[in-house]
Symmetry: C2
Subunit: 409 residues, 2 copies
Amino acid sequence: MALVVQKFGGTSVADPDRIREVADHVARTRRHGSDVVLVVSAMGKETDDLLRMAKEVSNTRPGREMDMLITAGERKATALVCMALADLGVPAESFTGSQAGFITDTTHTNAKILELRPDRLRDSLAAGKVPVVGGSQGVSTGRDVTFLGRGGSDTTAVALAAALNADSCELYTDVSGVFNADPRIVQGARRIDRISFEELLEMTATGCPKPAMRSVEFARNHGVKLHVRSAFTWEPGTWVVEEDPDMEHAIISAITHDASEAKITVTGLPDEPGIAAKVFRALADQDVNVDMIVQNVSDHGVTDISFTVPFDDVERSMTVLRPMCDEIGGSHEITEDSGIGRVSIVGAGMKSNPGVAARMFETLSEHGINIEMISTSAIRVSCVVRQDRLEDAVVALHGAFELDRPVPA
Amino acid sequence: MALVVQKFGGTSVADPDRIREVADHVARTRRHGSDVVLVVSAMGKETDDLLRMAKEVSNTRPGREMDMLITAGERKATALVCMALADLGVPAESFTGSQAGFITDTTHTNAKILELRPDRLRDSLAAGKVPVVGGSQGVSTGRDVTFLGRGGSDTTAVALAAALNADSCELYTDVSGVFNADPRIVQGARRIDRISFEELLEMTATGCPKPAMRSVEFARNHGVKLHVRSAFTWEPGTWVVEEDPDMEHAIISAITHDASEAKITVTGLPDEPGIAAKVFRALADQDVNVDMIVQNVSDHGVTDISFTVPFDDVERSMTVLRPMCDEIGGSHEITEDSGIGRVSIVGAGMKSNPGVAARMFETLSEHGINIEMISTSAIRVSCVVRQDRLEDAVVALHGAFELDRPVPA
C-alpha cells in the first residue's frame, strides 16, 4: 500500500468549508488506494493574530512562552480536520508535534529537529487511521513545547515522509505549483513540471516564496520525492526530483526576484588584509543575515564593501558597523539603501552554456536597467537593480530566455 | 515560605488589560511573601467559540478531538499570562495539564483525574518561578489530551493545592465570594465569610453557580483550605472550612434556586413492588441525571411518580419511558413540565433546629406560592414551585430567615 504525506497550509484550512474540502481530498486519496499522513498549519491568519495578541500583552515575550502560544494554532486545526474526516467515515487522530515524536533543540521560536520518533503515527496507520499532525512543532530535549518557525510545516511534512519512508510528500499551496516567474508580474509565467532540488533551492534562496527552503534542503538530503501542487484542483503540480545528468535542460529554469533586502555600503576602508573578515565576523556575531557581498579595491589604498541584508537586520547592522569602523579608522562612510531589488536567473543548464550571464547583463542594459551588484553560483546569476525597475527586469529576462515557451518533455 | 494556589477564570483573563491585572495580582502576592502556583482558564468566551467552530465543521465531533481543540484555549492563556509576568520581572513558566502531571482516565470531554505528578511544578517553584498551569486538562493513560469538563479549572487548582500541600487555594471569580442568595434577585443578599464544605456542597448542588461542585468535594476530601474571592479587589471573600462543632450556626446559611430542570410525571402506574426500580434503572442506564423524586400512592391501586431532570435530559427520558410504560401496562400517562423552578434553604444549623422546614412551607404559603414537590437532606430543604414565582420565593425566604442580618462572628 502506498503512503503519501500531504501538507496543507493555512489558507487551505482557513474556514470550516475549506477544512471540509481538505477532508474530502484526503478521503479521495484513500479511495485511490494510498495511506495518508496529514500535516496542517494554523487556520488562515491565526499565527499572525496570536503574534499580535502577544505584542499587546507583553514587551518581553520569552521564546518558551511564544512557542506555547503559537503552537495552539496548529493544534486547533488538526482537531478540526479530524472531526471533518470523522463526518466522512474516515477514522483520524490528531497529534501535536510532541506526540508525533519531533524532538528538537531548545532554540525557541526557531527550533531545529534533532530526532524524529513517529511510533504513534505508525500505530495509527497500522490501525487504518489517518494521523493528522500539527505542523512546525515539537518538544525540546528540555521537555518544553517548541516551534520550528514560519514555514516549518513544510519541514514537518518532509521530515515525516523521510522517517516513514513515504512514497511521496505533497505540499499543497494556493498556487498550482512552482512557476518559472511570479505570475502576478509576468503574464507568460509557466508552471514548471519537473525541477531539480538544486535549482529549487537557488530559487527559494532568491525570492521564490514556496516551498520553504529548509524543507527543500531536508528533502534533498533524505531523497524525499516532493510534489508541490494546488489544494483546490487535482491537476499535477511541480515534481522536485534528483538532478538527472541525461536530462535535456532548458538553459534557464526560472527568474526569481526579491525586494526584501537593503544594501549597506562602507566606503573608504583601509585596503588591508582582514578588514572584510573583521566586518563580517562582527555582523555574524549579531546574527545579521548577510546575503550578497561585493568588494571593490580602489587604487588609493582604500576599499569599498557593499552587502545586502534583510530589512529587519539593517538597524542592527548599523549599530554594529559604526563603532567598529571608527575603531578601524580611515575616512570611511557608511550608507544604507533600501531602494534596491534583486533579480536572479536560475538553471542547471547554464553550467554547460557559457555566456548566459553575459546575455542577462545585455538584456538588462538593453532595457536601460542599471546593475549595482552581481553575485553568481554554478546555477544562478543575481543582479541588484533599482527597486522601481525590478519588475521590468523580471519581465525582460523571462522574455529573453524564452521562458514562456513550453520546455521539451 | 507560604504557598498559595491561585485560580483565575475566563473573565479574569478575557483581554490583554485583564491579563496584566492578573500578573500584577500575582506579583503583589509574591511581594507579600508567598510562592504562587497559578491556574488559568481559557480567555473570556473562547471555549464557547471553539465549541461553535467544531459544530460548524463537523456533526460527529469525536471526544478525543474535541479535547485536543478545547484545551488549546487554556494553553494560550497560560502563555500570555507568563509573558505579562515576564514584563514585571517575575519569572514564570506555562505548563499544559500533561506537563503539570495530570494523569486522567480516557473519558474524553469529561475526564477524571487518576493521578497527579507535579514534579515539574516543584522544580519550577524551587527555581523561584511561578508555574502557570492550564486549567481543566490532563493527559490520559492512553497518552491522549483530555479535558476535565466545564468548571474543571477549579478542580485543577484544588488538586494542585492538595498535591503541593499548599497553605490555601484561592478561587478568583467576578463576584466577591459566595452569597447567601443571588444578589441579582435579593437586594439584601450578603457575602458569607465562612461556610462549611457540606453546606457549600448542598448550595452548589441546588443552584449556586460557583465554585464548581466537583472542586468543593475534592477540597473537602483532601482538606484543602478554599478561599473564594474577587479577582478585582483585595477584600477577603468566602472561606470554606471544615465543619466546626462548636461553631455558632445561623440556622440557615443560604437560599439557592435553580430553574434549569423540568418535571416529568408518570401517572396511573400499577402500584406494585419494583415499579419505581424499573423506571429509574431504565433512566440511569441512559445516563439521565434524575434529581428530585416524589411518589404518591393513590387508593385505587395505582401510583404516580414525579421526578426532575435537567432540560437536556428530558427528550432522552421520554424516549426511555414511553416504551417501558407500555410494557409495564396500566392506563398510565406521561407528562412533562418545563415551567418549574426549585428553591432550597441550606444550613447546618437546621439539624439542631426543628421546625425549619415547617417555617419554609409557611413562608411560601403566606406568599401564595404553591409547593409541587419537596425533598430534604440533613442540612437542606428543597421545594419545587412554578418558575414564574421562583424569584418571589427566594426573596420571601431570604427575609423570613433574616439572612440580610449580619451573622454573629
